[in-house]
Amino acid sequence: MGIQIVKHGLLSKIIKYCKNTKIFATEGTLLTILIFLATFLSIASQFFLTFENITNLVRHTSIVGVVAIGMTFVIISGGIDLSVGSVLGFSGMTAAILMRDGNNIYIAIIAGILSGTVIGVINGVIIHKGKVPPFIATMGSMIVVRGVIMLISGARMVSGLPREFTNFSQHGFLGVPNLFIVWLSIMFLANFLAKRSLFGRNIHAIGSNVEASRLSGIKIQNNIIKVYAFCAFMASVAGIMMTSRLASGVPTGGDGFELDAIAAAVIGGASLSGAEGTVLGTVLGAFIMAMLRNGGTLMGINPFLLQIAIGSIVVAAVLIDKQKKSKR
């Protein structure tokens, strides 16, 4: 009884706090949508709420989710990164090849992540020093890196990876998939980084007004390179996660993930004009996207209709968010 009262008191305090600080308005709405969606799907399909389906869903979302978090930072800084899908594939393939050839698992993982992150640094340098618009620069990397992947893999899957490595993604802790735990840890770190670190503050400032930031003494070059490196780092980690899950290096791995990542961030409240967006929002956005896909497939909806629906929903989500923001 006592515990009940304590819980109730705490809950109402939390609700009051959320209502007073408009900070969680977007996230609150998203959470509500998510809950409705989950409820609807559990009723609409008997397969949705099964252990198998949920863990599957969570594993896939975790991989896209990690990429989306990196993307969120880039979008906040006022840029965009179309190369994340290729970087994911590149990191995963590099690690796969090294492991297949008998190298130590951990060395392979580090090498994979490093190689992917380097792409991010190159992106940052081209964008800041070369003054090439992020869209163009990263589109170029996207194409180039995919070509590199094809080269090093001979356009073939790379399998024969150590059991311990591939098992990681199949197992979990107390029923919670390992991949999700990785994503969860990244969520907390990234959220802290965005809200409380100097890097996070600089990124928001640059995304809001790069000239005012420069005139206030913020080092634009360092921060731009860092943010693209960070985004590529996230994509690289996701690449390792995917390689473990698929138990092989896949030449087309990550293809199209950039769009899912952008969609997740944007549904989560990020604005392509910069300075808006949160890690929590992106996470919820990623879940909503994944659930739509998963639910649609389970309900046997024509995959093409599903594609049309999902595209429309992404645009609708941004429309609604813009409406709400302009009312304030």
């Binding site: 100097l198 503050r201 809001s208 005139l215 206030s216």
Partner: protein
């Protein structure tokens, strides 16, 4: 003025959540008159005008045009009734020609269904000539100066048969001789029987060209009088409850010999050359010049925002090599840019973040910002310089112009800057906030700081600066000491203007 009134606004009221913007205001415009509308920011001037132009709908009251009560719910309706406006943001298609802009949305076509360029340019030329505006209608708008663009907007408004033209701070972007051209144009409009509403913070302009003046305060009508029957002091008292003399009278501390900043022969090809001056501790050095004379370029180079070709910068007796804003900031220099929205503030971030923007590296340990120190700094300055905001978490874009300016100042105050460069510090700031900002200048100098103030507004320079240098087309043409303009007379103004135009002053 016994002709019949063109438009009469009666008992107009308008509320927004939490604030009554207009409370039973009356306003009328007669043909051929210039009716000035004055008041502090937030007094209700823009709201009144927006209601007349159909951008907002009134809660109560009536708008009567030619004796008939009408409803204006959209801007296009306002146009149909002959109401036109010239706003500060130039509403022209920058990449099209002047002629095309006249016909935006209704380009005349030939029998072959192609655009009838001949008609476009013929008509445009006619309208421009009629108003004595010497601009080629074939020119692309973005190649025109701000002043010329404004002229085009005025001509366009007339082309749309406006019977009432509203001017909202028209001289904000204009240099002095361009202002004269504008006034000549307004005179022409008067002769044609057009009714003019003139909104401006520059009271001396009101007295130059207006026939009547209406003062609004806190959404209420204070009074409408004939301009000839009032004076600047009375107007200011009606607007804020204080007189004009008070505004510019700030304490000037005795000049010290200590030189905090010395610029030696600073030059930048095709922009400015051989700029040399000294800044004393506790001094307010004014920098006057016509728009485009190069003053902003000079100070941007001093601040490290742009590169210069030759010359030296000495700070507190030591040579300073300033190649980036960070270098200047580390020497204790702060810059409040001319366009504070574009260059001074991150508008959609909070007041707190903007105040700490240059300070973050100092309150960070191991990459993490000390939230408590961040909050403390923001709250301290909010109180110290009276920044009006419901909380420091409020987004800066929601603050008024004057308060936004204070946020930029707080940014440099928090860095313990010793040399402040203000570029047009009171542009777009209302009378009340202006006075506060000047008082802040006084406080800054008393605390041992030094100020360089760029201004195109003579009353401001003459009232506030201890000394003034004048720049004309990139060259330093003269220095005037406080004694030489302390009377703030017309002759004194002429001294400045002559130097600014490159003429010699006896």
């Amino acid at each position: 003025m016994e002709r019949s009134v063109i438009v009469r606004m009666e008992q107009i009221s308008k509320s927004f959540p939490g604030v009554k913007a207009l409370d039973s205001v009356d306003f009328s415009v007669y043909p051929g008159e210039v009716h000035a509308l004055v008041g502090e920011n937030g007094a209700g001037k823009s709201t009144l005008i927006k209601i007349l132009m159909g951008a907002l709908t009134k809660d109560s009251g009536a708008i009567i045009i030619d004796g008939q009560k009408i409803d204006i719910s959209t801007p296009s309706q306002a146009k149909l009734y002959g109401l036109g406006a010239v706003y500060q943001d130039v509403m022209l298609a920058q990449h099209l020609s002047v002629g095309e802009n006249f016909f935006l949305g209704k380009l005349p076509i030939t029998a072959y269904r192609t655009i009838n360029w001949k008609v476009i340019y013929q008509e445009a030329s006619k309208v421009l000539e009629n108003l004595n505006i010497k601009i080629d209608p074939k020119k692309i708008v973005k190649d025109l100066t701000a002043a010329q663009q404004e002229m085009v907007v005025i001509a366009k408004t007339l082309h749309e048969n406006a019977r009432v033209v509203i001017f909202d701070e028209p001289t904000a972007l204009l240099a002095n001789e361009e202002t004269e051209e504008l006034f000549k144009l307004i005179q022409k409009l008067k002769e044609k029987g057009v009714g003019i509403v003139y909104i401006s913070h520059r009271l001396e302009e009101i007295f130059k060209i207006s026939d009547r003046v209406t003062v609004l305060k806190d959404g209420k009508l204070v009074n409408t009088l004939n301009t000839s029957q009032t004076d600047e002091n009375s107007l200011i008292s009606m607007m804020v409850g204080r007189s004009a003399k008070d505004m510019y009278s700030i304490g000037h501390i005795a000049k010290t010999a200590e030189i905090v900043l010395e610029i030696k022969k600073l030059s930048k090809k095709d922009v400015f050359e051989n700029i040399s001056f000294k800044l004393h501790k506790g001094e307010i050095l004014g920098m006057f010049g016509l728009v485009g004379s190069g003053r902003t370029d000079i100070v941007r180079c001093i601040f490290g925002a742009d590169a210069f070709d030759s010359g030296e910068i000495w700070v507190r007796g030591e040579r300073a090599f300033i190649k980036s804003p960070l270098d200047a900031i580390s020497k204790g220099i702060g810059l409040l840019p001319e366009d504070r929205k574009k260059q001074g503030l991150c508008l959609n971030l909070s007041v707190e973040t903007n105040i700490n923007l240059a300070l973050y590296p100092e309150i960070t340990t191991a990459g993490i910002i000390h939230a408590a120190k961040e909050r403390k700094t923001a709250e301290a300055f909010r109180e110290k310089i009276a920044i009006k905001t419901p909380s420091v978490s409020q987004k800066v874009l929601n603050l008024s112009g004057g308060n936004q300016q204070k946020v930029v100042m707080a940014k440099w105050l928090s860095k313990n800057s010793k040399i402040f460069i203000f570029d047009e510090p009171t542009a777009g700031v209302d009378v009340g906030a202006k006075a506060e900002i000047y008082k802040l200048f006084e406080k800054l100098t008393r605390d041992g700081n030094s100020i360089i103030m760029i201004s195109s507004y003579l009353p401001e320079i003459m009232g506030v600066a201890d000394r003034a240098i004048v720049i004309s087309e990139g060259k330093q043409t003269g220095t005037l000491l406080r004694e030489e303009y302390i009377g703030m007379t017309n002759e004194d103004e002429e001294k400045f203007l002559k130097l600014a135009s490159g003429l010699k002053v006896s």
